[in-house]
Symmetry: C2
Subunit: 356 residues, 2 copies
């Protein structure tokens, strides 16, 4: 591992209006290690009925029995779900809405409509992100950078996805009754929000690795796990190298939503690179549904890992079961238009290391 | 103006692997003032034929006579244009591709396809952003935060838009020959890229104001200027308050693409708030086309202000004509789907202050 470091030239203390920023340690070209790791002081997870009936059902804070949440459209239901997650996480943090200085969020809908429409009712600056199902870690990584640097004290990070809106937008409206191949995944109806703060007790984000866009040439829109596995491989190996850690140093290595097939591929690819992923490796997409729920390779969607991390994973961390977790959400960045035009599927994975 | 400041508690120098981050000055809840302002060390602008024939034609670095750039589809042409802008800006900076540590970019296409597909050929981490036509300032603001904090040395910021892809996606394919109302704007075919660095000479980004999502209830998809003006108003007044400046302190106040009508509305709204915008206020959308080019209220699109700032504006700054520029790109965050469902248009404006 080569460690690239700044010289100390950049510590200015010129007048009383100027305070020194935090110390930072740069591990490498893609990883930032935080000297003042932000704390997840509040969190919320909301999922749909199907997710609530899955193996992780009891961990989610709220299960919506009606997938339309009483709204007229699935899109409005998705917005409502995101709003519930953000408000719930802020409530959980014990802070007021006014204390939260920024919302960093994204979703799968074109033009990030869920995020934008929810943000208009929140009186705080908004950064809209898009990296498909990797948006939750892009958001956590950026918020951690902003808080560690002292720019803001408290930032909410959130994502959402909804099965019916994703089907309508990426594939076909539900009414068409399309059949799915056995290697497909099922978009999770769910939302998650974490409130990060520069103070407090709890799970801390100690490092972030920003991913590169990786495309191994997969063109099958239904086989997202296979498309995304190489991006997870790239970010995970970079993260391990740049932080000088091994897979066994983590109590949990968690990928976003590679599903069963994709996570098996990741294991194989990692083995080829000389890393062994043992029983400490799990995939959110692979966990969220039971086999008899007929979701084939498992869950996907920006809300998949966001809802699981903000429930099951942090619950287990606070209970002392996991101390150090590498969380790599993974995103497939194609659009229906790019696929119609014969393009393959570029993918990305951003990662954060969480410790308690 | 109330100045919110951290106490100095966050200066850690614990061992030789840890360096102090830069000093930062927090002006308020939405604005970050940079103590070590990043420098724009390289830039590039590429536009289409129509834009090349407009009043700013001679300033653009490259004018593409063929709006398809020799590609089979408009979408591929848009990607090629973005790639040209990024490669051109890196070349202009005198750096090599390897020196650039991150790409922060976004575009108007669903799932940010132009950005994602271009990023896969660049071997650097990628942050995908979406704030519609405000993406260029979101990108510059975030990159400045990252560089000022010492996380990365050099970051490329880029956006692109294309008339034909935007029409196909947001309205109708060109072949339909739809007529436009006189208050409509014309999506600019163009791309801009700035390479920001922690060292070097040139235009510096000295502050950034992150915008809130503002929705005054406009529902007419063709009247984007009217929808976006209140968002520009909000960010501009916050920026002025939080940096304790007045409009006359700037040689240039530049909005992204409100167009003629939208910028007139902004002048009126600012007057109501007690600020007078004089001849130092101009709008990129209002400048890019001549009246006889039949673009009605002017240009719009993520590539509009990005191409103008990276040509005309920085040219004039380096020539000594403008010393201090407030650049507020403005974005309308609706989607076709949200409009079909009767929603109004939420808008946002992120701002940066550039000085030389």
């Amino acid at each position: 591992m080569s460690v690239t470091l700044h010289t100390g030239e950049n510590c200015h203390l010129t007048n009383s209006n100027v305070i020194s920023g935090p110390a930072i340690r740069r591990a490498g070209r893609q990883t930032v290690v935080f000297e003042r790791p932000p704390v997840i002081v509040g969190r919320m997870s909301v999922v749909g009925d199907k997710e609530g009936k899955g193996p992780l059902g009891k961990y989610f804070r709220k299960v919506e029995k009606d997938v339309k949440l009483g709204e007229k459209t699935f899109e409005k239901a998705e917005m409502r779900m995101l709003e519930t997650a953000i408000e719930g996480a802020i409530l959980d943090s014990g802070l007021s809405m006014r204390d939260v200085q920024m919302l960093i969020s994204g979703d799968l809908l074109n033009q990030l409509t869920s995020s934008s429409y929810v943000a208009r009712s929140l009186n705080m600056p908004h950064l809209g992100l898009y990296s498909a199902c990797s948006t939750m870690t892009e958001s956590l990584a950026l918020a951690s950078c902003m808080i560690n640097a002292g720019y803001f004290d408290t930032i909410a990070c959130a994502t959402v996805s909804h099965f019916a809106t994703a089907e309508r937008q990426y594939r076909f409206p539900l009414e068409y009754g399309c059949q799915r191949p056995p290697y497909a995944q099922w978009t999770v109806t769910g939302a998650g929000c974490s409130v990060l703060s520069d103070r407090g007790e709890g799970v801390r984000i100690t490092a972030a690795t920003f991913g590169k866009v990786i495309d191994f040439g997969t063109t099958d829109l239904n086989n997202m796990g296979a498309a995304m596995a190489p991006a997870a491989l790239n970010t995970l190996t970079v993260m391990l190298e740049e932080t000088d850690t091994k897979p066994e140093d983590y109590d949990l290595i968690l990928t976003g939503d590679l599903g069963k097939l994709g996570s098996d591929i990741l294991r194989d690819l990692m083995t080829e690179q000389g890393y062994f992923l043992g029983s400490n490796y799990i995939d959110c997409g692979n966990m969220i549904y039971a086999v008899d729920q007929n979701c084939y390779q498992g869950g996907s969607g920006a809300g998949c890992s966001a809802s699981i991390v903000n429930s099951f994973v942090i619950d287990k961390m606070l209970a002392g079961q996991y101390h150090k977790v590498a969380y790599l959400a993974t995103g497939a960045l194609m659009s229906p238009q790019s696929c119609y035009q014969g393009e393959s599927i570029p993918c990305i994975s951003h990662a954060v290391i969480m410790e308690v």
